[in-house]
Amino acid sequence: MTFAASMLAHSLTLAPGGGGDAAHASLADAPIVAATADPSLAWMGWVLALPAISAVLCALCAAFRVKNKLPAICTVLALGSAFALVLKLYLARGPGAAPVTVHLWDWMNFGWGGGPWKSFQADVSLYIDSLTLLWMLFVTGLGTLIALYASEYMEAERGPGYARFFFGVSVFLLAMSALVMADNLVLLYFGWEGVGLASYLLIGFYYRKPSAVAAAKKAFIMNRVGDLGLAVGIWLIWVNYGTVEFGALFQAFDDAARGVGGWDRSLIPFCLMLGAFGKSAQLPLFTWLPDAMEGPTPVSALIHAATMVTAGVYLIARMQPLFSLHPDAMATVGWIGALTALLAATIGMAQYDIKRVFAYSTISQLGYMFMGLGVGTAFGAAYHVFTHAFFKALLFLTAGAVMHGFAGQLDLRHLSGLRRVPGFRIVSWTMLIGCLWLSAFPYSAGFFSKDLILVQAMSSPRFQMLGWIGLGTAALTAYYTFRVWFRVCAGPVAYAPGDEDHGHDDPAHDAHGHAAHGDDAHGHDDHGGAFHPHAPRLAINSVLLLICAGAILAGVPGIQALRGEQNWVQEMVSNSSAVRAAGVDHVTEPVAFGMDPHKLVTVFGTGACLGGIAIALWIHLLDRRMADRLRTALLSNGLTRWLPTSMENKWYVDELYHALFRLPAWVTSHLLHFFDRHFIDGLLVNGLGRVPVAMGRLFQPLYNGALQGYAGTMAGGLVLVLAWVAWKWLGATGGAA
């Protein structure tokens, strides 16, 4: 093992010379290439229009109660065409082309003068540079594949629910494309809110389930906190720089680099950061993401693992020219990322729900990405986003296939030996690839991307601590990832079905399950009432294989970097605003243990990965009772009891938020409710209403039904009035006379 690691370290030391990091350092001072308007690319508007059309068609399908797979076909075709358009643009322009803007139509455009602060322009225009293309390629590509997967996964919902699901997916793709391709912060904000809405709608897809509704609300409200930061940040940017368009803004940042800003100028990156942390589930706003797993699994794979949660990384990469002006903000991003990575990994170690483990691993990996941004390698962060999108989508989709096949069973204590269960072979082996990639196994895509981030951290004395946290987290990652795989896919065959209501004894399920795919997957119907796993069919298996191939190919740029060639991810990021990371060059001098950063990260990273896998192998496959004994031993000792309990209880963050925010809000709301009920309603509204009632009671006896009584009262009143008038009149004239 040591030999292999040192070989690896040797080969990786070649990387910095030929890789783009040298170019990176020189570009950091160069002005950003100004974007040119290119009206001939107006067809890129179809990338936005296609998901919108698909959303309308899905809504019509729901309205007309279409029972077949038409919504899925619409969505897959629309998203596939959008992907084809993005690919066409990418092939036509090549990876490192200069940024262009495409004006689609005017949205907000008014001025009271001209130039900064005297006009406000936020149009529906696209800003296409290599960073945009990198994101669009995997957003539309994975979106298409996951929609295809969902066409089979969601088939139990066929009818309005099926259409509603694909409507949500289409809306999400529309908003995500707007977010990534926007040429100004206002359109970006529109997309930002749109993906939040789609996420809310899809988490709460099973709206009859109270936990799903609660999770949807939690995600939406927590994102509101972050979005407030983003909104304030955009406002402060306009106040300070007088524009919200990226092209003009990057020029303004360059000018600002030479000037001095006020306190509100240095507040801007922190506001944007809050938005990014909310959307990307970082400390302190990460608790919504694990709960978001209540949504259907394709949604978890697409929105809550591969694409939407990387919007925060995109925002900071896009605004890198701004962040590079504020080293404190960069350091904050790095530290928050590293701490989130560590915290989420420790929680992930103690969860029993497979999807939750993967959710915490997503938070943890997003932490790595922010760490990369913070230490100054936007390339590493973007590359990790790219590789993570594939292997994490793959892991979620395999978890979804397991959940689909075992009636919602996701508890890793009740599943074992899946690789020997008929029909689950592809699922098991693609899950193994995903696990290896997630735990940064040497020469996997995840290894290369994580390596870039950690090397950059190790290279700078300021951030060396972050590098060590990252390496420690890598060991935890390998452990919890393989804890899942060894428990679920390896070992003796044993499983228990989940409690999802479409069990096999349900006639409705038989109608959809057996009629839909014949007897091929159900070879053992002679077992009578026993539970039969429901093996995935063509759509799920082919998507798993395709994404698995994508995950493997995602490592190619890493191998290119290893060989010292220009690689395309590098080129994609190099000609965008993201290159303005204020990073330092990779150093080749020894930084610790007599090793330079590359060797250090390779040796310790490989050691962490293999060590984590080895421990998981030992206590979760070879001697499974060992894990329980370990837990019992830790629990029985008073000194260590806090460790497993707090990890299983997610470090009580939810409880802390409950005590800090929900409880005061609950108390205040009840006090205000009491005030409203008894003061506003009781005293003012009903109290005033009671006055005429009381007066009516007082005078009611006069209303006795006797006509003469009324007439007498009227006559008496008349006499009184006349007497008063006469007295006044006589008095007045008498005085005059």
Partner: protein, 110 residues
């Protein structure tokens, strides 16, 4: 008394007409209060109405304005219509209770 009325612009003829009007109104009012027979009560309201008409004419004359007389024409028209309606109601009410006494309908207030 006379200088006082003259100061208000009242001539002798007008004063007489107003006194007549007041007397008629008082008779009608007292009749309405004292009697229980619905037909007689209705006739008393007619008396009060005509007292008002006489006052209109008197004031119209005083101000040399035909508006007073115009109003009286309207009042007579309305009174005719209302008389038909009221007598019809009285007939209906009588059929229900076999009596013309207004006290028979006292519970209507509930």
């Amino acid at each position: 008394m006379t200088p006082l009325l003259a100061q208000a612009g009242l001539t002798q003829g007008v004063t007489v007409a107003l006194v007549l009007s007041a007397a008629l109104f008082t008779i009608g009012l007292i009749g309405f209060l004292v009697r229980r027979n619905m037909i007689l009560m209705f006739l008393c309201t007619e008396l009060m109405l005509q007292a008002a008409s006489i006052a209109f004419i008197a004031f119209g004359r005083m101000r040399e304005d035909t508006g007073g007389q115009t109003f009286v024409i309207f009042i007579l028209t309305v009174a005719a219509a209302e008389a038909a309606l009221a007598l019809g109601l009285v007939v209906l009410l009588y059929r229900r209770r076999e009596t013309l006494s207004a006290e028979a309908w006292q519970e209507l207030h509930e």
